[in-house]
């Protein structure tokens, strides 16, 4: 397969297409989304669906649709919506439980094994279906689509945008995202005024989706310090799915709740050993590494304690007030604070605590609501199932306590 060539300016841009080593989201015919690792010169396996050579995808732009045939990919043009003619058909004469499909499962399996294309199998099923002609056109369309989803080997790659990654994770494990749905997440990023060049503090126990959002908006320009409850920097699994280049993730640095305390002296192994005591190159290398870690920690602490940050974003399993107590002193005047929680009580109690404190202007509580519609021609309606909650937000502005007089 010829690879997709990128121009020089595109290589520099932040969307270079699919690259070797990327985690790629793919949408299968039934609508479910999987994440697969695309590593050059390997075979990509989508469990219970199919396998293909990774090189087929490397260098391709995101969003294209492919059909798998013999581990090779062929481009499949995306489908557009079809108008459906209204007919007089109704389901008046169609009853449940009637024997309508003489084609057995075994026969279908045999056809599939012999390499008959999915579209031909569906055609045969329709021809043999006893009641197909009685169905309404809408019902026929639904039937065809259902069958296609079942047999088709067509998938599309999904660009790892914040929206798509959040949607994928939310559908996969809402609890691990702490109900941080994309509408709530985007509101947090806007309310906290996250912009390229800004400096932010964040606490993310939501698998890193909040950190992913901030890094995406910074685009490699600015600073993000996260505070975590673990000894070493947290994993933030959502970040992996974003396939960020290092230029984007380099602005992120983490402290933990102990090292984020001003009067705590972190216990670090000595790195300043007189040169005459250094015995080997290995030891020297180790000491240099140790010194780099120590310096980074000290510099990060200094930067935090120097304050004047532009915003604080919290999606944590810890008491949000305890976080605000510790971190809000490092916010500049007029900076924004946004807290998310899956639970209304947590946010309500937080608001009640904040509103009596003069350093927080107008703590405001809100809940986000999101509804998706089916927009097929002639069949437009809200989806039957919708996400029940995207969590609750409390937002406030940091003020200086002293009132200025003239």
């Amino acid at each position: 397969m010829s690879t997709f060539k990128t121009s020089k300016s595109e290589q520099k841009s932040r969307d270079p297409g699919i690259q070797s080593g990327d985690l790629v989201l793919v949408r299968l015919p039934k609508g479910d989304i999987r994440s697969v690792k695309v590593e050059k010169n390997t075979t990509v396996v989508i469990p219970k669906f199919g396998a293909f050579f990774a090189n087929e995808l490397v260098g391709q732009p995101y969003g294209l649709t492919y059909e798998i045939q013999d581990k090779k990919l062929t481009y499949a043009p995306p489908k557009t919506l079809e108008e459906i003619e209204d007919t007089d058909a109704t389901n008046e004469l169609i009853n449940d439980g009637e024997f309508v499909q003489p084609l057995t499962v075994d026969e279908i399996q045999a056809l599939k094994r012999s390499g008959v294309h999915a579209s031909d199998i569906i055609k045969m099923q329709i021809e043999q279906h006893a009641n197909y002609s009685l169905k309404t056109e809408y019902s026929k369309d639904k039937y065809k689509k259902r069958k296609e989803a079942k047999y088709s080997k067509v998938f599309a790659t999904i660009e790892p945008t914040l929206y798509n990654v959040c949607e994928y994770w939310f559908a996969k494990d809402q609890l691990r995202l702490r109900d941080l749905r994309i509408d709530s997440l985007s509101q947090m990023l806007n309310l906290a005024n996250v912009r390229p060049g800004g400096r932010y503090l964040a606490v993310d126990d939501a698998s890193g989706i909040l950190v992913a959002g901030i890094l995406e908006r910074l685009g490699g320009e600015g600073k993000l310090i996260t505070i975590c409850a673990t000894d070493s920097p947290p994993a933030y699994p959502c970040l992996m799915q974003m396939n960020f280049p290092s230029s984007v993730t380099d602005v992120l640095i983490s402290l933990n709740w102990a090292t984020a305390e001003e009067d705590y002296t972190p216990i670090l192994p000595p790195s300043d050993i007189p040169t005459e005591q250094v015995k080997s190159d290995r030891q020297k290398h180790r000491l240099n590494k140790r010194k780099a870690v120590t310096d980074l920690l000290n510099n990060t602490r200094e930067e935090l304690f120097a304050g004047e940050f532009d915003g604080l974003l919290i999606a944590s399993e810890y008491d949000p007030y305890s976080i605000i107590e510790r971190l809000s002193p490092y916010l500049g005047g007029s900076a924004s604070m946004v807290v998310h929680s899956p639970f209304s009580q947590i946010i309500v109690e937080l608001q009640a605590k904040l509103r009596v404190l003069p350093q927080f202007l107008c703590p405001t509580v809100s809940e986000s609501w999101l509804r998706r519609y089916q927009v097929l021609p002639g069949r437009t309606h809200p989806m039957m199932a919708m996400s029940g909650t995207g969590g609750f937000l409390c937002h406030a502005t940091k003020m200086y306590v002293r009132t200025l007089t003239n």
């Binding site: 732009p61 481009y75 985007s186 509101q187 202007l361």
Partner: protein, 405 residues
């Protein structure tokens, strides 16, 4: 865009926060005064004040104060002068995410309107990005231009044009995202496609309040070869938090009812005793009267028997209710059903509910993607059919994607 300095300088645009519903944008111009219901201020006094300060008003009457805030697009949305219906946080944030607008994005918007959306997008794309904003209404265009100039957006970040995009198109190409807030977005869909990049996914959002507009837009997008057409509605439910005394238990009510019954019975017994006494006195009195030959007593202090005593129950009942305060913790000594708290302040709890009247609908958000098409496919998408390309063009390998024109 706006000042990122720590303190306010002459010429800065600031947001004066008066109340939750009253935010006022202000260009700090020494020599001018600011008069609010919270007192009078001199612009000159605001120069040098750190952003995020509370500033007290001037003079003897000066017990009022204002909050001096640094503008953000979100504050601007709440404070801006309305020239049109505007977009609010929930829609702006969702559209930004769904269109994948981020640092460096090239975005088209039409029309500019009151520029609530524009400011938010400009903030998000930053200096590396570019917003092409189109307004067909001349007066609104001129006002927006003045505003963008004052906010430092016209030096490269935002390009504003007075142009009817439904007639004349956008005159740009290779943009990542298009946002159409127009009465008839379907008229601009073809031009939007021309403006969008073809080498990567580009995205469009059409913002329409009516479902009929959505249907026309969807079919125009579909005909133009857009895919992944979805439609969303998003709202932000504002929630108010209240403090209220801890709700009393019905055990309290039961105890009070029992106490009232006891008092009523005691009263009845007292009345019986009183009646007996009255009868006694009456008899004695009669004898005395007979002796003294004076006027008869009776009309008012009527002799009642046991059952008629009930007639006085109502005032008694009312008095009993007043005796016992409903506030828990200050219950009368007779209360024994609830453990009494020793603190004098009544226990408070925090409760929350949605505002009584909220924004119920803004607009439907119709999204679609323009996906790159390999050169061999001549830019035409196949109408949806059961044979999804596998048999039709199955031999065509994945080839070089057309470059943006």
């Amino acid at each position: 865009m706006w000042s990122s300095a720590r303190t306010v300088a002459e010429g800065d645009t600031i947001i004066v926060w008066l109340t939750r519903d009253q935010l006022q944008p202000l260009v700090v111009t020494p020599g001018k005064d600011l008069n609010t219901k919270f007192g009078n201020f001199k612009h000159a006094d605001l120069v040098g004040v750190p952003y995020g300060s509370k500033v007290a008003s001037r003079g003897a009457s000066g017990r009022g104060f204002i909050h001096v805030l640094r503008p953000t697009p979100e504050l601007w949305t709440l404070a801006l002068p309305h020239r049109t219906q505007i977009l609010y946080l929930a829609d702006i944030a969702f559209i930004t995410a769904a269109l994948n607008v981020r640092r460096g994005s090239r975005v088209v918007e039409a029309g500019t309107g009151s520029a609530s959306f524009s400011h938010s997008i400009a903030r998000t794309i930053g200096r590396a990005g570019r917003l092409f904003s189109f307004e067909f209404h001349e007066a609104r265009f001129l006002k927006a231009r003045e505003e963008f100039r004052r906010h430092g957006l016209l030096n490269g970040m935002v390009r504003l044009q007075h142009r009817n995009v439904c007639k004349d198109g956008f005159g740009v190409s290779g943009v990542d995202a298009v946002f159409l807030d127009l009465p008839a977005p379907w008229e601009a869909v073809g031009y939007a496609k021309e403006a969008m990049r073809k080498d990567r996914i580009a995205r469009i959002c059409c913002f329409s309040p009516c479902i009929e507009q959505v249907l026309r837009t969807v079919s125009a997008l579909n005909d133009a070869g857009f895919t992944e057409i979805t439609m969303h509605e998003t709202l932000l439910r504002p929630i108010e938090v209240f403090q209220t005394p801890k709700l009393p238990s019905v055990g309290e009510a039961a105890a009070e009812l029992k106490r009232a019954e006891v008092r009523r019975e005691e009263k009845r017994q007292r009345q019986i005793a009183a009646n007996r006494r009255a009868v006694e006195e009456a008899r004695e009195g009669k004898e005395a009267k007979e002796r003294e030959g004076k006027r008869e007593e009776g009309g008012k202090r009527k002799v009642v028997d046991d059952e008629e005593g009930e007639g006085e129950e109502e005032p008694e009942h009312k008095r009993a209710r007043v005796d016992v305060p409903s506030t828990p913790g200050v219950a009368s000594t007779a209360s024994s059903t609830r453990p009494r708290t020793t603190t004098s302040a009544p226990q408070k709890i925090n409760v929350a509910k949605a505002l009584a009247e909220v924004r119920g609908h803004t607009s439907y958000l119709t999204f679609a993607s323009l996906v790159p098409v390999p050169a061999g496919y001549a830019g035409r998408t196949e109408a949806g059919s059961s044979s999804n390309g596998g048999s039709g063009g199955g031999d065509t390998p994945v080839v070089k994607v057309e470059n943006a024109t």
